[in-house]
Symmetry: C2
Subunit: 178 residues, 2 copies
């Protein structure tokens, strides 16, 4: 009935393709942040941050642990949680919750924020940015007297492939639509 809380989200492909330059830039920002806070730049912190910065996916703590293990790094989950908190504080990462029973994280650079489309069948996540969303949000907030700090827009549905029936409908990936 209820989608199983698959912390085995690792069944999803975890690739490490994207903009290496971007990752290095983010690493510098992270190191600067640590210096500024007078916190040590440890090997583990660098490894965790780099893994997140190199991925264009939304990673769970288990995903990160798996990714690091494959690189031959042994990092405790407690350290991963603690480092992710630092990255969020430094505004270099964002915490996401797609209702799977655990959190995911994605890197972010500066002012850029994304909204998400999540496939409830295969778990694919598509990020997008749309000025129109910001405008509409501001309009609504103004009308109801709110001062906006952040927002969260998630659209759940079937991605192109799943819509076309490339995968069996019902293949459970732990994503629970609202």
């Amino acid at each position: 009935m209820a989608a199983s809380k698959t912390s085995e989200s690792s069944s999803r492909v975890i690739s490490t393709k994207p903009p290496i330059g971007c990752a290095l830039l983010l690493m510098d920002l992270f190191r600067s942040y640590l210096h500024q806070q007078r916190l040590p730049v440890t090997h583990q912190r660098e490894a965790i941050a780099m893994s997140l910065f190199e991925s264009e996916q939304q990673l769970s703590v288990d995903d990160l642990a798996e990714l690091l293990r494959r690189r031959g790094e042994h990092v405790g989950k407690a350290t991963i949680y603690r480092t992710l908190s630092l990255l969020v504080e430094a505004d270099l990462a964002r915490e996401l919750d797609f209702g799977e029973g655990f959190k995911r994280y994605e890197h972010q650079a500066g002012e850029a924020r994304y909204d998400h489309l999540i496939c409830t069948n295969c778990g694919r996540v598509e990020r997008f940015t749309r000025p129109a969303v910001d405008d509409l949000q501001d309009e609504i907030a103004a009308e109801l007297g709110f001062f906006v700090q952040s927002r969260r827009l998630e659209i759940y549905g079937l991605c192109g492939r799943c819509k076309a029936g490339e995968r069996e409908i019902g293949e459970d990936v732990g994503v629970r639509p609202k």
Copy 2:
């Protein structure tokens, strides 16, 4: 640092003001659903559903337990969880997650869906509906090849009162902005 997982969300005022007629209508729908599923209409189920239907707020399981206790009803939390699942299946309630560490629930009637503005200072929640949001969502989904099943739009910020400084900024209500 991290907002404490205050399951003591009951510190928030829980009132029971709104449309009684609507609540009774929803009760009938719930009873119909149970009959249709050949499930017993028990006293506990009616009490839990009624409490949710009579409230215009987003209630946690603890809120509901508290509300029921005040009415002199002793209902186990397991039963509340189980009944809420039924209400969600029957499409008479919606599960919400504002990042507090626990779920909230609000009743819903038929096709009506709401988006939310959440005050990160006092916890106030304002529901709203905007056709423009649906339009924009459809446009984005179409462009990215998705078939929409549901969505979630939450705007976090300061409500009119908190913006005006009526409450001390920083008063922690357990709502964690993204």
